[in-house]
């Protein structure tokens, strides 16, 4: 915080009293801060995130878990041979140190379902405000859905319902940067559930082109 009175939030940095974006994405302005919501990029682990991981290697008292991220996680077993290589687990990030070593905790085995991977930056859209979108997905598709912040989603249910939930999630991923999405997902899930239209109706594009964030452009001074 300096004379500008504005803070550079996530994806932004400050130089010579000006705020610049360091990421390719959409800018959001608040009263005292500016942040950038990225349109793409890999998952970076943060403490207390819930993620879906795949067990990669088992050691004496724990296992290394692939998290769809540049960094592996380590989960200490609570009992002997809790998981084996290839297991899909729902797990919480307990700690990330400065060298990005990830400690995991509360591992839970996921089985009899389908694992799908989407772009990690789209996950907030799948979850929605206070889980609103996820609740719609869960109730309308009648599936159990585990959403990992790292872009992995595990869906469990009857095959045709799983497929419908997957199609809905793919639609969210494709249209994550548009508005009016919740309504479209609702009508999709309550509708025939046929193949998702490749192009959604364009009426939601009411924003001026100016709202496209100018990458690396000035965001304030």
């Amino acid at each position: 915080m300096d004379d500008t009175g504005v803070r550079a939030g996530f994806g932004a940095y400050k130089e010579d009293g000006k705020i610049y974006s360091s990421l390719y994405g959409v800018a959001e302005e608040f009263d005292d801060a500016v942040r950038v919501v990225p349109l793409c990029g890999k998952y970076k682990p943060y403490k207390d995130d819930f993620v879906v991981g795949i067990v990669e290697a088992v050691r004496f008292k724990g296992c290394f878990v692939d998290l769809n991220s540049p960094y592996k996680g380590y989960l200490a077993f609570e009992r002997d041979d809790e998981f084996k290589v290839g297991d899909i687990i729902f797990v919480k990030i307990d700690d990330v140190d400065e060298a990005n070593k990830i400690g995991l905790v509360d591992g839970r085995l996921l089985y009899d379902g389908k694992l799908i991977t989407i772009a990690p930056v789209k996950i907030p859209r799948v979850v929605g405000k206070k889980g609103s979108m996820l609740n719609i997905l869960r109730t309308d598709s009648r599936c159990m859905i585990f959403v990992g912040r790292n872009g992995r989603i595990f869906i469990k249910g009857r095959p045709e319902e799983v497929e419908r939930a997957e199609n809905a999630i793919r639609m969210i991923e494709r249209e994550a940067h548009t508005s009016g999405l919740t309504e479209r997902v609702k009508s999709f899930l309550s509708g025939s559930g046929g193949p998702v239209r490749p192009e959604a109706p364009k009426e939601e594009q009411h924003g001026e082109p100016d709202t496209v964030f100018e990458q690396f452009g000035e965001e304030g001074d």
Binding site: G11, G25, L39, H177, T178, Q215
Partner: protein
């Protein structure tokens, strides 16, 4: 290059391809063209055609290269055997190793490497068709591909060349101008600070000509910078901010 050539390259204030001395060739950029890469870009600059792909941040291989304080950036500039008139022997040679090294160093200045310690970011640029100025085209495409991969950067890097032909300082040399001209100065800049992150010079210029060439190349770069931003905006169409 170097020395005075008797090949006429400028007639009536126009160059062989009809450009004015301070005019760029046509540049076209498209972001996100490859499905499998984390980020990619395709660029046409005159008859130059280059394809850039970015992978990462990912695990460092070979492992001993890993740096616990920042990410490692690798850059591979490669010319396709069919990119030039006489088939180029495939594989790295003295020239492409040099270009790869200086381009990697240019990108290291803008990528926020310290955000991803113990990882590796790989940049691959393939020159599919060459017509002078490929290192600039390659670097310009690579920085768009990096942004497309969602990698945090201080700014894009833009590269552009200026040079001297028939004792006149001109922007963005074409092939015959490169072969029969007197000097070629490729530069790469960080547009919002004006920092120069890459500069080379082939041939000779007086101090005045050098300043003139530098100004011209910076101006050219700024034009290309707009095209880079435009390519990234087009990638996701009309983005609407809902929250």
């Amino acid at each position: 290059m170097g020395g005075v050539s008797n090949v006429p390259l400028i007639k009536d204030g126009k160059r062989l391809d009809g450009r004015k001395p301070d005019e760029l060739r046509d540049v076209r950029i498209e972001a996100g063209v490859l499905e499998r890469a984390d980020g990619s870009a395709y660029l046409e600059w005159g008859s130059n055609k280059v394809l850039a792909a970015v992978y990462g941040p990912q695990e460092v291989l070979p492992k001993h290269l890993s740096d616990p304080t920042k990410a490692v950036l690798t850059y591979r500039y490669n010319m396709a055997p069919f990119s030039v008139d006489d088939r180029k022997r495939p594989g790295p040679d003295r020239r492409s190793v040099e270009i790869s090294k200086i381009s990697a160093e240019a990108l290291e200045k803008v990528v926020l490497l310290e955000q991803f310690p113990n990882t590796m970011i790989k940049v691959f640029v393939e020159v599919l068709q060459a017509e002078a100025g490929t290192r600039c085209a390659a670097l310009t495409a690579a920085s768009v591909a990096l942004a497309d991969a969602g990698i945090p950067m201080r700014d894009l890097v833009v590269a552009c060349a200026a040079g001297k032909i028939n004792d006149t300082v001109v922007l963005d040399l074409g092939k015959s101008e490169d072969n029969f001209g007197q000097a070629d100065v490729p530069i790469a800049i960080v547009p919002h600070t004006g920092e120069i992150v890459l500069m080379q010079m082939d041939g000779d210029l007086t101090r005045d000509e050098y300043t003139q060439a530098l100004d011209l190349a910076v101006k050219g770069s700024m034009q290309v910078y707009e095209l880079q931003k435009d390519a990234l905006k087009r990638r996701y169409g009309g983005v609407v901010d809902e929250q």
